[in-house]
Amino acid sequence: MIPIDPNASPSALLELIYRLKVKDIMTGQVKSVEKDTSLREIQRIMRENKVSGVPIVEDSRLVGMISVDDIIRALDQGYIDSPAAVHMSRKLVVLEDDMPVSFAISSFEKYQYGRFPVINRARELVGIVTSRDVTSGLLMEMNRSLEEMERVLNLQAAPGPIGQVKRVFLVQQFDYENAGRASTELKKILQDRGVDRTLQRKAAVASYELEMNLVNHSLGGRLIFHVDDEQATIEAVDQGPGIPDLAKAMTEGFSTANDWIRSLGFGAGMGLPNTKRVADEFDLQSAVGKGTHVKAVIHLKPRPGDKP
């Protein structure tokens, strides 16, 4: 049962169940079988894939469904080796992938089924949706919306002591759409304060490298800026996975990035070494399974021993 009452839920939630489509929450890549597959084989598939229902297809068209109840009945009555076609449910209630999630919720209420197959406009099976998919899909989306709200709130954060700026940005793993936004903000802060262009660039590069590291390698984290007249401090704090070998991570050219990250123009193994290169102070702490904390400081007023 899905604990959402369409008549008495907050409007933000109602807006969500109309905005989200079934395809946003369904499980795609469904394990389906042809109708001559034996029930015993289907039982094995259920066990191995930890699913409680398997769609039966004919030329990618959905023709039936076998549920765990059908399997229990077959075992009980001794026809577990017969083909799916004979015993499958043929009267199916299906959802379309373009329907709003609200349709899925009302179908769960109305039919009391554990799952619904999802088809596309061509009537092909494209996924399956369980009540669990609905709740987790909604939770994920609410989480995302909350994070977005936090991001906006941070932009409007109350000013600290005069002349000081603090900003915190949440950075999510693989969020390439927003990757770089925080660093753009830092650059703008420095620009507005009239900081020298070369120093602006150093801070922006350090921040962008750390931001891309969070996007590419972490499970998500925060990028924190502290700016005053003396220095700009950039901290990247994440929740894992942690760096197993710090010396290797600081070696130019060493990278754990995959081809996908590289195709986006990153993953050359220069991130941390380059951050250290442009920073006047640099500190890296990491523990596997816990997370990584990187701190880079750019002096806005030159100090003895600073890099040129």
Partner: protein, 114 residues
């Protein structure tokens, strides 16, 4: 080298003319598809030549204080890339040439050869 000379050199088409289009003097060109490598460059106001049409090109260019981007190999920019170049006041030029040919021609111009 002015942006009009850049256009001519790379047989380019301007997608966005920055506010400094007519006053900017391009002195350094960095050709790269790996944005990580661009971040290592220390020159001011570079012209970035790349075949990568993603948003991160504009973001990287902005971070290093580049003055413009030449997208080579006849690649079409993603709409968000054009939008970011506009927001960051970065010139954006499309060129049908390959990376090497475009860079070589820009290099010749920088050396004062027609």
């Amino acid at each position: 080298m002015t942006f009009d000379q850049v256009l001519e050199a790379v047989s380019g088409e301007p997608v966005h003319r920055s506010s400094r289009w007519t006053t900017q003097s391009v002195k350094h060109v960095v050709t790269c598809d790996l944005m990580s490598d661009v971040l290592v460059s220390d020159h001011d106001e570079i012209l970035l030549v790349t075949s990568l049409p993603s948003d991160q090109v504009a973001r990287t260019a902005d971070m290093v204080g580049a003055c413009g981007v030449v997208l080579v190999n006849g690649k079409a920019p993603q709409p968000s890339l054009v939008e970011l170049c506009t927001r960051f006041d970065l010139a954006l030029v499309l060129s049908p040439l390959g990376s090497f040919e475009a860079s070589w021609r820009l290099g010749e111009r920088l050396r004062g050869r027609p």
